[in-house]
Symmetry: C2
Subunit: 177 residues, 2 copies
């Protein structure tokens, strides 16, 4: 069991354990029963599709990550986020009936603040970072994903063109030699 | 006293009440003693300055908002955020010594999840929204700010050019007639 701390134990106890094949869509835009998934093995992602049909990747969720639509949950709105599996994966669906005890609240508070902090960083990156800084950001957040995810998806996550990403990866590889 | 609920009462009791003049800088990039401020009257903002010297506005904080650097706090790093006063303001500085009780944790959890939800929405906006949608987003989040803040600052917050904002505001005004 990957989830050793109390928060995860409690959130996922009686949660639904699932094995999903690569390509499985777990949530679609417009769904009203919002779900959150913890990844124990494999890789999920969340993304939106804009009015022109273009995909924008909001999050990759490899092992130990949790993915879900906080906005839809907090504002009780249908989701905008698709969630699918980029690899064959083993996941746990969070039990929405779990009672928030005091202990859970304290640990959840830490986790929620950290999630907000990461999103603050992402906003600042999207507003101001160069392609080089964006790639550095990606490597920091997801140190083992750069060979597991297609380049065009990394570019989508970072808000740069695949061409810019390809150029940066070349410079990056040379700078690490 | 604006802060009626227990969370704010407890966070701000023994907090430092201040009156600050328009233009006062309350926090600078590189500061290590990170501060959070609640606005009781007036208007603060937080922003970064990028490597080229360009400002990017992370947040406006009018009455009832709290502004601070969650990332610096969560990761115990010096801040990247400047915080200054856009109007003469009355503010409360959060007491960093406050003990997180169970009750505080529960209320804080709600607030932290909501902040993360808003930031999720901002990330998706910065990745995919048209200038029109961005302006709509601004009006929703800050319904009474559009005449209190210089246009170029609204454009900076939304990640569009002042020219695009000016065009959108014209269309917006006509659409509301």
């Amino acid at each position: 069991m990957l989830y050793k701390n109390n928060l995860e134990n409690m959130l996922f106890e009686k949660g639904l354990s699932k094995t999903v094949k690569k390509g499985t869509i777990l949530q679609r835009e417009g769904d009203t029963q919002l779900k959150s998934f913890a990844v124990t093995k494999g890789l999920l992602r969340s993304y939106i599709i804009d009015a022109k049909g273009k995909e924008h990747i909001f999050m990759f969720a490899p092992e130990d990550w949790i993915v879900g639509d906080l906005y839809g949950k907090a504002l009780k709105q249908p989701t905008r986020l698709f969630i699918d599996a980029l690899e064959d994966s083993e996941i746990l669906e969070i039990n929405p009936e779990v009672e928030i005890t005091n202990e859970l609240a304290l640990k959840g508070l830490e986790k929620a603040i950290r999630r907000a902090a990461m999103l603050q960083n992402r906003v600042l990156m999207l507003m101001s970072a160069t392609a080089w800084e964006r790639y550095q950001y990606f490597i920091e957040i997801y140190p083992d994903l750069y060979n597991r995810v297609p380049q065009k998806m990394i570019a989508s996550y970072l808000g740069i063109t695949p061409q810019a990403l390809s150029r940066i990866r070349g410079e990056w590889a040379r700078s690490k030699k």
